[in-house]
Symmetry: none
Subunit: 143 residues, 4 copies
Amino acid sequence: MTDVVDVTEERNINFAGAHRALSAALQEASTLQVAFCIAVVDRAGNLVVYGRMDGAALLSGQIAQDKAYTVCAFNGLPTHEWFEMIKDEPALLHGIVKTDRLIVFGGGIPIRVGGELVGAVGVSGGTADQDRQVAEAAAASIA
Amino acid sequence: MTDVVDVTEERNINFAGAHRALSAALQEASTLQVAFCIAVVDRAGNLVVYGRMDGAALLSGQIAQDKAYTVCAFNGLPTHEWFEMIKDEPALLHGIVKTDRLIVFGGGIPIRVGGELVGAVGVSGGTADQDRQVAEAAAASIA
Amino acid sequence: MTDVVDVTEERNINFAGAHRALSAALQEASTLQVAFCIAVVDRAGNLVVYGRMDGAALLSGQIAQDKAYTVCAFNGLPTHEWFEMIKDEPALLHGIVKTDRLIVFGGGIPIRVGGELVGAVGVSGGTADQDRQVAEAAAASIA
Amino acid sequence: MTDVVDVTEERNINFAGAHRALSAALQEASTLQVAFCIAVVDRAGNLVVYGRMDGAALLSGQIAQDKAYTVCAFNGLPTHEWFEMIKDEPALLHGIVKTDRLIVFGGGIPIRVGGELVGAVGVSGGTADQDRQVAEAAAASIA
């Protein structure tokens, strides 16, 4: 981001980048033999590309989208870092988890280019660790 | 399920099957002398047949429907298996129970034909064990 | 669809088919030089594949998904046929358009295989005619 | 209804009555060869019995329930009388139709016993006239 008068220069993932991330997620998923839902959002958290693999749970669809949204809605924090952050603060632990679209377990990973947050990947369908692994592979595919 | 080009062959419960499941649930309920709400959904979680017995709690109506939905939205997992799955993972325990329509206690049972998920039964009104017993009787009535 | 005891045999679009439909939509879109949001849903109206082209309106994202949902939620009727059906019935014209997720203008097209509804495409971003043209190209790509 | 001190005696449809109404609706539907969703609610508008016939549109499920609710939520007025009542009052015509769960077209019919409203039937899936015909047959089956 570069500030000039009144406006800020930003970089944002585009369709080609988001689709590349989906393809990388599908390739990683094939090594795990698990069916996932995969969502790629832009830096504002809006959905750019989505795919539900055959056999993935219906419930995972919204969760995948919400994981990606959560990352961008909190400046790029991966979703697996949320619980560590709130677990020892009872008011947060009980109070913030109900926030609409907030997901506090693994599977949401930022997409960064040159250190700048440009989007995020959310994956759901396996264990939290599997979801995270697939999301990290997707995010890593963006230069 | 059989994959052919572009489409997958599936089986889905129909009205006759769903109504048979309701009748089986009512019969099992009569042995318990408890009033239940009973919901039967198709494989996508949409309501096919519903019945609220005289005296069943109003609150149980939506819960019964949500239990059946939860089963189909998570590939057939009975709702009584959810808590075991999340109880030792604090991030899930605190983070996933708020998911819209997700029920993590007993009373939602898959309906399978030849091993394939074709729908689900959700029951609410008694204890979790009673709800489960009635739902299992209903699911077992489908060949 | 074939009815057997308690269940109905159905076909449902899979990820490969839905992704093929997205690709066909993108190709048709390139001839129009307009940016679209494209949603492909299964026969129950659940999202399978989604893409937002660079420059497409944010508002179009939900509309595209709702168009595809509307088609499957009403047995395959293309969304451009809704208005003709209700325009001379004032009670419907005023009363049904508020229905959640119902879209009554063009851009939602059924995907059929052997005459059976297996999913739908929803497109938004251009005029209703352009949206429809892109959705029809996508649906036609499925055998 | 009979008022005594502090409380009012009411009659309310029970499961047996609601299920009888569903059966009557199914029988009437078989003469029309159309697939309907059928909802029977108690006098407070809560769902007692529901059935979705094979092939009925998913969209019709909520509309059928909302029609039955609308009847009981407005003291028994059939839904087909709503539009006549509001059509010449522009503020109502444009303003009230958006009310949550209010349906202003045919297919919702009160169930009365001895003149007293005890529940309602809501039917959706055919034309407004067909929906009304099936709902009236269902309501007439209750003495």
